[in-house]
Structure formats: structure tokens, C-alpha cells
Amino acid sequence: MSSIEIAEAIDGKPAAPPARPASRVGLRLAGFLLPVILAIIWEILVRAGLANGRLMPPPSVVGKTLWQLAVSGELWTHALATLWRVAAGFGIGAAVGTALGALTGALPLARGLLDPTLQALRAIPSIAWVPLFILWFGIFEASKVALIAVGVFFPVYLGVAAAILSIDRKIVEVGRVFRLSRLAMVRRVLLPAILPDWFTALRGGLGLGFMFVVAAEIMGASEGLGYLLVDGQQLGRPDTIIAAIIAFAVLGKLADGLLLAITRPFLAWQDTARDRL
């Protein structure tokens, strides 16, 4: 018996990697079942003349509209405009939120000074800023990006500050016992410790970023998926509206998946029972 075998015999638990259930792919596909069935039912009802498809167009009509928008290139112009705004707003909001969250989380003085004000500002519904932002930043890109940045800022700020405050004292003591300098403590203990919560906060922020880009573009824009929504409303084209909604859903899901794919390798060490939602 090697020493490992002896050790395992003593501890009674060979460390095996968790098994991947074979049904996982099937479970994932099951999620498509409900929307697909509903869509088929609606299509049949409209075609059979049992339902009026004018206000709620059937999937085939929406699909055709989406296809036409894609072929004409319009869809990509709008999607890119929206994506750019979200990216810029998310970048600014996430950076400022992380910085201020780290500051108030780490320094009691900064917390005392800044946190009450920020909490008060948080109580303001972000859409209420729109008129002010339009006055300050004009009706073009800057005011839209600012609104999105505000929306992204708060969840990131709260998440980072809370994560820092909840770092386990016991693990920090390990750093102290090994005499880590302040910088080394941040790099080797504090940053890795808050990483999972930070990523979760970023995902929440990204979701809100997509919420606020719709608000910003409905308020007034000449391009973007939000503009497509308003355009469809004014022209009485519900199929355009639904096409834009679907584009929003796909874009949001892709952006979230991208963020998840980038961050996941950093969290391989996590001891969680299942993937976070």
C-alpha cells in the first residue's frame, strides 16, 4: 500500500471529481419545450382562423420580419448601436461601482462618508434621471450611456462592498500569520475571496444595463433595438416590436453567456453544490 492509499484508507474518502450527470443535455433541451409548444399552438390557431393575428402575430410572421430586417442589414445596425451603448455604460458603471465598492468596503472612513449618500441616490428610480441627463449630456449618446452606467453602478457597488465586508476573518488571519504586506494581502487573499461575489454583481449589473438601454432608447433615439420598438408601435407593426424583443432577448442572453464564459475559469475552485444561476 502506498502512503496515499493508506491515507485514503484512514480518511475513508478518496477525492474523486464530481460526476457529470448524463441527463444534463436533455434537461437543458427540456427548457425549450414550453415556448415551442405555445408558439406552435398559436400558429395553428391563427392559421385556422380561430384567433386574430393582427395584434399578436404568429411565429411565422415574426420570423419573416426578423429575416427581412436581417437581410436588409437594419437589424445589425440597430443591434450594434444597442450593444455599443450597453458596453460603454456597463464599462463605466462597473468600473466606478467596483472602485467605490472596494473603497467603502475596505475603509470605514470612506464608508461613513460615501455610503449614506450613495444609498440615498439608490432610492431614486434611475429613469427619473433621464430629463436631467438630457439637459446635462444632450439628447445623443452621452445621456444614454450615463443612464445605463447609473443602472449598472448600484448592483456592482453593493455587491463589491458587501463581498469585502463578508470576507472570512479566519482566512485573513492566515495572511497575517504569513506576514503578507498590504498589497500582497489584497492580491493573494482579499481579491480572490471576493471574486465569486464580484462576478455575480457584474452579471446583475449587465442585466440592469440591458433594462436601461431599452428605457434610454425609447426616450429618443434614431437607431438601436429600443428605437425599433418605438418604430413598430408608431407604424402599427407588432411583428417589428416582437422581432426587436426577440433580438433583445438573444443579445442579453449572449452577453450574459459571454460574461459567464470569461469568468467561469476563475471560479473552478468553488465548492458549490451546483452552478450559480
Binding site: S3, I6, I10, D11, A15, I171, E173, V174, V177
Partner: protein, 260 residues
């Protein structure tokens, strides 16, 4: 040589955790602190580790006063306290970041092999059992070759079999550089197995009640009559510490020696 010089600790809330502790520990000696709960064992250890400051008195390690954590003092906590985002090897080598990678790997591989975890270098801590994690913590504390090793009930959360095997691993590692060891335990048998001297403490405020020497040579046979005798003596002292309020320092230690 480690010296506690009239050490007292009063917490901000007014709790007097330690009062007038005087002990000298020779280089290479293994000292066990035992006592009922709330007698300040852990507080004492935290003071030696430099994680807290004494209210009165001082701690001297080779004539230098301890005020903060030192590079030549290793600590093993009650829990493994591994960093979950580091592999087993990186955890074990946490205190060796100043060394070149090759040298670090050599030391870590050696230390892990000696605690029976060869081949576990690339695992995550979550993949290890509690006993395995505590062994990584032992390797982490000893791989830096500390002059003084502090242990705060390091095996208390483990089952008896695992504990016995870890005692063996620990003594094997201790033999290599023979650091001074101060360990806190509530397990008298563990104290008799490992320690050269057992200090019994009393609570409210935490103070030394008595101490007894353990002259048994290592490896110690838990089933020998001599081991039993010392264990019984230690248990009796511990019992008295819980009923008596008057410390009876040294008197009983001498009689324990005579008894031999």
C-alpha cells in the same frame, strides 16, 4: 527559548482572559496547554502568534519581544483554513512565495509526501476530506521550518483514528527540525502523547493552575502502564483545576516527578 513574562490580557469589553502568566519553554520542547473551556488557552496562543497584543507583560522569543506575526513562527489553527482558490500545492507553499518556483516545488512536494499527500498537489481543497485538509495545513506551517510552532486544538474536529495518524505525521515532521511547540488541547491523552510538559490552566481569569513533566521517551506507547500513570495524573490535575480555585503551582509537578 520562549518566555511568557507576567502576561495578562483584558478584552475591550472588560473580560479578563489571562492574568499573570509566567512560563518558560526551552528550545525544542513540546508544551501542551490544557484546561476547561474559557481558561484563555486560545487567547494565549493568539498572543504568541502576534495576532493580538497583551494588555500587560510580554512574550520573548530568543530575547525579542513578540508584537506581530513573525516569519519563524508557524501556526496551525483549529480549522484547516486553506485558501479554497489555491491548489493543495499552492496552499502548502503559501509561506514560500519568496523562493524560486523550483525550490518551492521541491520543498512542497517533500512536505506533502511526509503528511501522506503525495500526488495530491494539483487537487482543490474542496476535494479533500477534513483530515486531509488539516494535513495540508500542517505541511503549510512546517514547510517554512519555523523556530516555534503554535497549534490550537488542531485535531479536535477529527475522529480518533485520523487523529492518531496525524500525531505520527506531526512528530515525524517535528523530528526534522525540532522546533519549539506550544499546543492547546482539551484532550489529555493527546497532551500526554505529544508533550514534554503539560500546563493545566484555570478559567476566570485564565491562569496557570499547575504543570507536570512528561519524561516518557518517544515513540510513546499509549498502552504502557507508564503512559497510563501520567495520563491519570494529568486527568487528576485537570479535575482539581475545575474544583479548586487556589492555584497550586509546582508542588504537584514535583510530586509527579517523585512518583516516577
Amino acid at each position: 527559548m520562549l518566555t511568557f513574562d507576567h502576561l495578562s490580557k483584558t478584552y475591550a469589553a472588560g473580560t479578563r482572559a489571562l492574568s499573570g502568566i509566567d512560563i518558560s519553554v526551552a528550545a525544542g520542547e513540546i508544551l501542551a496547554l490544557v484546561g476547561g473551556s474559557g481558561c484563555g488557552k486560545t487567547t494565549l496562543l493568539r498572543l504568541v502568534a502576534g495576532l493580538d497584543r497583551p494588555s500587560e507583560g510580554r512574550i520573548l522569543l530568543d530575547d525579542a519581544i513578540i508584537t506581530e506575526p513573525r516569519a519563524d513562527v508557524g501556526v496551525i489553527f483549529q480549522e484547516p483554513r486553506l485558501l479554497p482558490w489555491l491548489s493543495v500545492a499552492d496552499n502548502a507553499g503559501f509561506g514560500l512565495s519568496h523562493l524560486p518556483a523550483a525550490e518551492r516545488n521541491r520543498l512542497v512536494t517533500g512536505a506533502l509526501a511526509r503528511v501522506g499527500l503525495a500526488g495530491y498537489e494539483a487537487r482543490w481543497p474542496r476535494e479533500l476530506s477534513g483530515g486531509q485538509q488539516q494535513r495540508v495545513a500542517i505541511a503549510r506551517a512546517l514547510v517554512t521550518r519555523p523556530k516555534l510552532l503554535l497549534m490550537d486544538e488542531p485535531f479536535s474536529a477529527l475522529d480518533a483514528t485520523t487523529r492518531a495518524s496525524l500525531h505520527g505525521h506531526l512528530l515525524a515532521l517535528w523530528e526534522e527540525s525540532r522546533p519549539t511547540v506550544v499546543m492547546v488541547t482539551h484532550d489529555v491523552e493527546e497532551a500526554v502523547t505529544l508533550a514534554d510538559r503539560i500546563v493545566v490552566m484555570q478559567p476566570r481569569p485564565g491562569r496557570i493552575f499547575d504543570e507536570l513533566d512528561n519524561p516518557l521517551t518517544r515513540p510513546r506507547d499509549r498502552l504502557s502502564p507508564a503512559f497510563e500513570a501520567i495520563k491519570r495524573e494529568a486527568l487528576r490535575t485537570l479535575d482539581r483545576s475545575l474544583t479548586d480555585s487556589e492555584p497550586r503551582q509546582h508542588k504537584a509537578a514535583e510530586s509527579a516527578g517523585m512518583w516516577w
